[in-house]
């Protein structure tokens, strides 16, 4: 298999969607969504057979274990997100179905290239290819003022961050006279101020993408205003891509010198965990709550990053997988409830256990996973990143993380209480999610439980990927 097979396949699906858009008539364009969804599914299945290949394009493009792992994760997340978006009256299936799916697919293409980029220029281009469609998608509900406002803020903060990042990249080039990341890693020594300054600025750009505190401000507004299936995907896939790029730039080939990034990541992690969890506490809107809790999760992943070791990186990869299923699932349940309730407040979840036992059970599993309760995926994820951090001597950070986990449990369990203990409104009937949405939720639930009961395969795969990078 050529190293570019998956990217070319995405291009083919994009062409198919484009062609379909030209041919489409009428307002019900669900079939375009199906073309994109099944296309992504097919590429996902093909990616199972992807094997590492030698670097291509003069070493700019690497298809190694990390890239393949990340690409599978992006494809899985995109498939679930697209599947959940298919509905008769959803924005993704109306007159602008073609645009919507083309934008998602281009962003996906950006992620795939990003996870393979080992060159500063390619990295930046892929980064922008991933980001710019997201700005448009955030404002896709263009008749709603909040959506446009949120998209604008997202774009504004994103451009500033990109500018900082590009500025940093110019310093890196200035200091090393190369755009090849492998050579950058060879020349890097913590003592060089210019290179350090550049890499720090680049770090800020990534911090925006993964939404670490205080680069997170766009997150709650954007999540609240954009369409939920898109947000479910936005909350996981670009974050995962951001982490993969972080690993490429800051870990690959660094060896022991990677420890130089430990204090910075640890500081950012502590800020993000504290900020995200505390700000999630007073939220009354489930999407905003999940937005802040997602920020806190980024903090926990940064804990693993701060360990600056193969184990730490592997555990972040595992965390990403657990987070993809748990967080997407939670957003999709919100979508299912919102479709019948027209409300995304936590109050809309009242008595969900009686209105839809399946949705309530799935939501409970996602919340437990996000909260870190055994035996669902999130428990191992948290345990493993703490483990890696403790092995690197970051005990204070583990303590901060563990204490704030208790705070997180509080707001997750408040939602669980609304579903299971509070009675539904008298007028409320049963909630029946559409088949596609139900399948997407069930897929997430299976992922959360399977990883929770038997985490070994993913953990071992992640360790195998992480070890040779150091």
């Amino acid at each position: 298999m050529s190293p570019f097979t998956l990217e070319i396949a995405i291009g083919a699906v994009m062409l198919a969607v484009f062609g379909a858009t030209l041919a489409a008539r009428g307002t019900d364009r669900r079939w375009i969504a199906w073309v994109a969804t099944l296309g992504v599914l097919a590429i996902g299945l093909v990616s199972v057979f992807a094997r590492p290949t030698p670097p291509a394009l003069f070493g700019m493009f690497v298809q190694d274990g990390l890239a393949i792992f990340a690409k599978r994760l992006f494809l899985a997340a995109t498939f679930i997100g697209l599947l959940a978006g298919i509905s008769r009256d959803g924005v993704a299936c109306g007159r602008r179905a073609g645009e919507y799916h083309l934008l998602i697919l281009s962003s996906l293409l950006g992620m795939l290239v990003l996870s393979s980029a080992r060159d500063l220029i390619l990295l930046f281009v892929a980064f922008e290819l991933m980001s710019i469609p997201l700005y448009v998608l955030a404002g896709f509900l263009k008749s709603q003022a909040e959506s446009v406002e949120a998209a604008l803020k997202f774009f504004l903060v994103g451009s500033v961050s990109s500018a900082v990042m590009a500025y940093g990249l110019s310093f890196v080039y200035g200091a090393t006279r190369t755009t090849d990341l492998a050579r950058v890693a060879q020349t890097f020594a913590p003592g060089q101020p210019l290179l350090l300054l550049g890499l720090l600025a680049v770090f800020a750009g990534f911090a925006f993408k993964i939404a670490a505190f205080p680069f997170h401000m766009w997150v709650p507004d954007t999540y609240e205003a954009a369409s939920t299936p898109f947000v479910a995907w936005l909350s996981v896939a670009p974050k995962a891509a951001g982490f993969v790029a972080l690993f490429r730039v800051y870990f690959e080939g660094m060896g022991d010198r990677a420890a130089a990034w430990s204090p910075i990541a640890a500081g950012l992690a502590a800020l993000t965990i504290v900020g995200g969890n505390l700000m999630a506490l007073p939220q009354q809107n489930t999407k905003r709550l999940l937005a802040y809790s997602g920020i806190a999760h980024i903090g926990y992943m940064l804990v693993g990053f701060a360990a600056a070791s193969a184990a730490g990186m592997a555990m972040v990869l595992f965390y990403l997988v657990a987070y993809v299923f748990g967080n997407m699932g939670a957003f999709l349940v919100v979508e299912a409830v919102a479709r019948s309730e027209r409300s995304e407040a936590t109050a809309a979840l009242r008595g969900l256990a009686q209105r839809s036992p399946l949705l309530a059970l799935a939501m409970l599993l996602f919340l437990l996973s996000l909260g870190g309760i055994p035996f669902v995926a999130g428990f191992w994820a948290k345990l493993y990143v703490f483990w890696a951090a403790a092995a690197a001597g970051l005990y204070w950070l583990v303590l901060v993380g563990a204490v704030l986990t208790v705070v997180a449990l509080f707001y997750y369990l408040v939602v669980a209480k609304r579903m299971y203990i509070e009675p539904p409104d008298a007028s409320a009937g049963r909630i029946r999610p559409s088949a596609t949405l139900a399948v997407a939720v069930i897929l997430c639930a299976i992922g959360v439980v399977a990883l929770g009961v038997y985490p070994k395969p993913i953990v071992m795969a992640a360790l195998r990927i992480a070890t040779p990078l150091f």
């Binding site: 504004l156 500033v160 913590p190 800020a204 205080p214 401000m217 910075i264 800020l271 505390l278 700000m279």
Partner: protein, 608 residues
């Protein structure tokens, strides 16, 4: 290799599938009988597979890493298939199958909802018990050990509207938990000393004398404590008689044939480890024999037919433990198997009687043999087997136990066990004579149980006979070393017990009351269960509840106070932080600028 564990895994998986089906698919569970049929179908196939595994004498081990860590997995799960687990698989699935079929008729009056719940628990129990049996290491064994405990709790309290049942369920749970605390501490200590939970590895280390663990005797004693709780050994035996509040089929399955034998099974399974600590083994033998005798005396004065059988179970578990302690664990395990058959038979027959007359009190029965001859016959078969009359199954295994204890030069336990043999025959024939013969009491017309109940009874009775005959023909592989005077002695003891019971309760030649007067101290103590229940109740009320009140006070006023303050602070902080999120785009860009600045300053501060 894969093929070899495939079939045992199937045995394990089917009840679990049934459990999942019943637990998740609400409408199926609420059909009641339909749920029962699903559960029975699963366990029937499981039983067939278990038979195949047993007949083909599988030996295999397969483990999978479960909780991974850098240096190899911390814990593994898997299956360990050997003659020991094979025999146990057959026993568990067989008795479960028969009990579940029997329950269809026994619980026919239940509403569909609770009946479905019953079968859900039953499937979970079978799965847990099989998982325990197949466990290749201590950790998996402990997990399933707790699961069977949970099922036992749920099933004892099946009629949870009855206060007595709810209380008994809680009592069973927390008394066995006392032992489990020792068990888990022992397991963890052993693991921290050897770095493994796995039996095979531990046995290899034991064989090479590489198991030089400081305080091994303490560790093994702690592990044995788990068995004390689960297998109702003195002084933690008090929960088992109360557990009779559950439905009778549950008593037959869980509190006679399978779960309570888990302790014996565990000691037998880890026999190479216990062999390293002879002092603990001796203790096990003494405690076992003492339990056997103590429980037998209590059975002699009990009037509730199920409680008589419960004390008898405690007593026979004492036998098994004594054998294990004497280093004759094969004999103990053999007794476990035969006891599983005939005790399940006795319980199910007792259930048929209770079903017919509507009372547990043997003195309000009488003359039942004429009304329900089939139940009477199978009950007598079970009684003969339990009393140790050749050529029934119980005779051979009991003799093997006695022989093993004698061989180990444990004279004290041997004498206690011999006396127990006499008492066993006495109290069992006491039940037979009082309930099945003697004067019939007026009121009600007891009738034979339906076929669904009689079928399992007959099957168990025939199996009890057949197993005995097979031993009689096949010669004694296990009791070859027993001295020649042992068989006549044990038969003689059983005969004395029989004659005593006959004289007291059938011929009325001896007045039981006069015997009771003559033996007043024993009678008094046995009727009051040696004060142990009262002692525990007192301890519970005095110490534990007192302690709880103290802790409760501290919790309410000190811990809660601190926590409330912390919570208020946290919520305030969250509310305060929310104001950062002004909604103004320029503030968001400031956020980015601040973040970049933070990165630069922080990196400067921590430069190495």
């Amino acid at each position: 290799m894969t093929l070899d564990v495939g079939l045992p895994l199937l045995v394990l998986a089917l009840p679990f599938v049934a459990f999942l089906l019943l637990a998740i698919v609400g409408p199926l569970r609420r059909t009641g009988r339909g749920a029962g049929l699903v559960s029975i179908a699963a366990i029937a196939i499981s039983f067939g597979a278990a038979l195949a595994v047993w007949a083909r004498e599988f030996v295999a081990e397969r483990t999978w890493g479960w909780i991974p860590a850098d240096g190899g997995p911390i814990a593994t799960v898997g299956v360990l298939v050997d003659p020991l687990s094979n025999a146990m698989l057959v026993l568990v699935t067989l008795v479960s199958l028969l009990v579940q079929i029997y329950s269809l008729a026994y619980l026919a009056d239940e509403r569909p909802g609770p009946l479905g719940r019953y079968y859900t628990y039953q499937s979970l129990f079978v799965f847990s018990m099989l998982g325990l049996v197949l466990a290749p290491g201590f950790l998996q064994m402990f997990v399933f050990w707790e699961l069977v405990g949970l099922c036992s709790y749920l099933l004892i309290g099946f009629w949870y509207e009855r206060p007595a049942a709810a209380r008994a369920a809680v009592k069973a749970f927390w008394i066995t938990k006392l032992g489990d605390v020792g068990f888990i501490v022992g397991i963890v200590l052993l693991w921290s000393a050897t770095g493994t939970f796995e039996f095979t590895e531990l046995f290899e280390q034991a064989q090479e004398n590489a198991l030089a663990v400081p305080g091994l005797a303490t560790i093994m004693f702690l592990i044995y404590l788990g068995a004390v709780g689960k297998s109702a050994q003195f002084p933690l035996h008090v929960w088992l008689p109360d557990a009779m509040e559950g439905p009778t089929p549950v008593s037959a399955l869980i509190h006679a044939a399978t779960m309570v034998t888990a302790g014996v099974y565990m000691v037998t399974r880890t026999e190479p480890l216990f062999a390293l600590v002879p002092e603990v083994l001796t203790l096990i033998a003494w405690v076992g024999a003492f339990t056997a005798l103590l429980a037998a005396t209590m059975a002699c004065v009990e009037g509730d037919i199920k409680r008589v059988l419960a004390y008898s179970t405690v007593s026979q578990l004492g036998y098994m433990m004594a054998a294990a302690g004497a280093g004759a664990s094969p004999a103990g395990f053999l007794h476990l198997l035969t006891h599983g058959l005939f005790k399940a038979l006795l319980f199910l027959a007792a259930g048929a009687v209770i079903h017919a007359v509507g009372t547990n009190d043997i003195f309000r029965m009488g003359g039942l043999f004429r009304a329900m001859p089939q139940t009477g016959i199978v009950f007598v078969v079970g009684t003969l087997a339990l009393a140790g009359v050749p050529p029934l199954a119980g005779f051979f295994s009991k003799e093997a136990v006695l022989g093993g204890v004698w061989e180990a030069h444990l004279t004290g336990p041997f004498l206690m066990l011999a006396l127990t043999a006499l008492l066993t025959a006495f109290y069992m024939f006491r039940v037979v004579f009082v309930a099945f013969f003697g004067r019939a009491h007026a009121g009600g017309h007891p009738h034979e149980a339906p076929w669904l109940m009689r079928g399992p009874l007959w099957l168990l009775a025939i199996l009890t006979l057949l197993v005995g005959i097979r031993f009689a023909l096949g010669g004694g592989e296990t009791h070859a070393e027993a001295p020649g005077w042992l068989p006549p002695l044990s038969v003689g003891l059983a005969a004395v017990g029989f004659v005593l019971a006959w004289a007291m309760y059938q011929r009325r030649a001896i007045d039981p009351v006069r015997i009771a007067v003559a033996l007043t101290p024993f009678d008094y103590l046995a009727r009051r269960r040696y004060g142990l229940d009262g002692l525990y109740a007192g301890l519970y009320r005095g110490i534990i509840l007192g302690f709880s009140r103290l802790i409760g006070w501290i919790d309410r006023y000190v811990v809660d106070g601190i926590l409330n303050a912390l919570t208020a602070l946290t919520l305030r902080a969250g509310d305060g932080l929310r104001h950062i999120q002004s909604g103004r785009a320029q503030d968001y860009v400031y956020g980015v600028a601040f973040g970049v600045l933070f990165l630069f300053v922080w990196a400067q501060l921590w430069r190495r």
